[in-house]
Symmetry: C2
Subunit: 387 residues, 2 copies
């Protein structure tokens, strides 16, 4: 290893340390940063200067000419330079969202459309148009696109969406069908929504995020990190067995949670064809709709009992369609959890509705890029210098 | 931070790096170690010398007077100094095991006895006697006791065994009832057995270890590390719901796996009172015994289906009483997994019997101390110098 490489790697590490401190604990003065990081004040000043020049940090307070770099001035994350793009293909809509480095939403758009039984190429072409809108707007705001992540409802591995039964897709390299100025990463919607909830939601560091859609997925966050399993396929809550002799499931099994509490099962039990109709029925106290939710809630409670026993959960966040349905689901879910877990745990897990609702997945998708830049800012300094 | 502290912490880190390389990749020469670690040859020589003096490393090949420290000689982990003590309270026996730093078993003892409905004090007094035997033997071999870990069948947190229904114990600080020359750490048997399997068993780095006893626990290993959940209560496979309207479980729920495949349920279905009798029946082809295993295997298959969906498992190891019963369980477990997971995963998970059988928990318990010494050897150098 040459001296030059050693120096670069130390500098990259120090840039990360300084940016990380500001991200977690900012605003901070250069002096406070030196104290927190153990780096010398002159090293901190140089690093902060470079990060300010690159548009990753900004000085707060009135900046006057010739006073740049005053040691008593606070520095904060800057939203001026980095753009991250979150994309989502949902059964009912397409969505895009642009975040800056501070996590502020700079652009968001959503197109309602029915993607059931659709052709991947057609859907991705529409998403491409939406993404181009977002990128154009980002450019207009002076932002540099640092990366993009696409959320899809189904298990993902090595860039392949293995199956999205709600869309009728199988083995689709969905991200590869987009032509964007940065590579697009593909991941599971429930995992990304869980990260959205972690970074921009309730502030819990240990929870299971449940995504109720046609399928039911889940994203597990442990100590502030996503647990996705060795192949990224963890969290298939929809195929946890509720009753082994229950209704046939399209997975080939029977009695899976999805056959009781998936969107189609719920709507069938509620004798409606849309979630909006079901919600309207619930609002006016329709007994069929209420019974459908109570039954789905009991099945969800059984599956979540198994999940709590296996995963040691203290907090469960209900997302997707379970967020608007929460007032009519919560009691039966919580009732089952309390009855079944009372003898095993000091307290049954806390149940809440997602605060982000349908925004969770694109927030998590774009947030992943933000967190990647924060964890390794060096490449973005190089690009700023080259530009 | 003073210079002296900085120096000590760098030295501690370097000792760990050198010991870790030898542990993973030894035997190694000092030159190879310098290459692997990026440390200078003189630093490596000093560190290796100190580790050899402390009895943590040894030189291989014929050692001749005056030739100590020859640069071309291989160094390996030494079994001469460190002893780690693994202890286990099982429903049917007490066990102790002494490992040295190389993982070699230097002493093991087991006392068969029925601990059902026992008083903790009485059981711990017997374990104390067994532990003293182990420590005396360790001393006779010239070993220093570095630590001790006690495995118990039930959920553990903050040194408390919350409940061990097979023993009839509740909220017992079991390790505190032992008086040993080192502090004793308490942990769950299934978690420790999973670590035993990881370190001294099949060599897999991702698997679920299932411990079949009166209760059914599980230990999840992901990428070579135990996943115990935020409170250490993960892996309660015995209370995963197999059928919500199934038999009442002592946890207050119903239809938990334990009510179908726990030792008591198995023996009742097999119309025997001991596992030995059940095995004898299976050996002679007794239909009642065969049916009992097939039914337990199907329930285990359903619960493991839920576990695979939630945890993304490629490998399941059956331990505890499921190890000797494996030949009569495997087919029905694997059949359910294949039928229910075929549509969701490229291949159903591989099912194997534990290679360690009843030794897994004490191996994991003692192994945890070994791995702690390998990860932070500095305190053991200080003690050797003081002695």
């Amino acid at each position: 290893m040459t001296q030059a490489v050693r120096h670069d790697s130390m500098r990259a590490r120090n840039l990360e340390v300084v940016l990380g401190e500001v991200s977690r604990n900012g605003p901070l003065t250069r002096a406070a940063l030196a104290e927190l990081t153990g780096l010398t004040k002159s090293t901190v000043s140089k690093l902060v200067g470079d990060l300010v020049d690159a548009g990753l940090l900004a000085e707060t307070g009135p900046a006057r000419a010739g006073e740049r770099g005053r040691p008593g001035v606070d520095v904060v994350l800057s939203g001026a330079r980095i753009a991250s793009l979150g994309l989502e293909i949902n059964v009912d809509y397409l969505a895009v969202r642009v975040l800056d480095l501070t996590g502020a939403v700079r652009f968001a758009a959503r197109r309602d459309r029915d993607n059931r039984g659709s052709r991947p190429k057609k859907v991705l072409a529409e998403l491409q148009a939406l993404a181009e809108e977002a990128i154009t707007e980002g450019r207009r705001l002076g932002l540099d696109l640092a990366g993009a992540v696409l959320a899809v409802s189904g298990p993902v591995g090595d860039g392949v969406l293995f199956s999205a039964p709600n869309l009728g897709w199988q083995d689709v390299r969905a991200a590869d069908l987009l032509r964007l100025p940065v590579p697009v990463e593909l991941d599971n919607e429930a995992n990304l929504a869980a990260l959205g909830e972690l970074w921009y939601g309730g502030g819990e560091r240990d929870f299971l995020y449940v995504s109720g859609e046609v399928g039911i997925g889940a994203g597990l966050v442990v100590n502030g990190e996503l647990f996705a399993g060795p192949r990224g396929l963890a969290g298939e809550l929809g195929h946890v067995v509720v009753a082994p002799d229950g209704p046939a499931c399209r997975c080939g099994g029977s009695g899976c949670l999805e056959t009781y509490a998936g969107q189609e099962a719920l709507l069938a039990a509620g004798r409606t064809s849309t979630v909006a109709d079901l919600l309207a029925g619930l609002d006016r106290g329709d007994q069929v709709a209420l019974d459908a939710c109570a039954a789905a809630g009991r099945a969800l409670g059984v599956a979540l009992t198994s999940a709590v026993n296996l995963l040691d959960l203290d907090h469960i966040v209900l997302g997707g369609v379970f967020t608007p349905l929460y007032p009519w689901l919560a009691e039966s879910v919580a009732g089952v959890l309390a009855a079944r877990l009372g003898g095993l745990r000091a307290a049954p897990p806390v149940l809440t509705a997602s605060r982000l609702g349908g925004d969770a997945a694109t927030l998590g998708a774009a947030g992943r890029v933000v967190h990647r830049v924060l964890a390794d800012p060096a490449p973005f300094l190089v690009r700023a210098q080259e530009a």
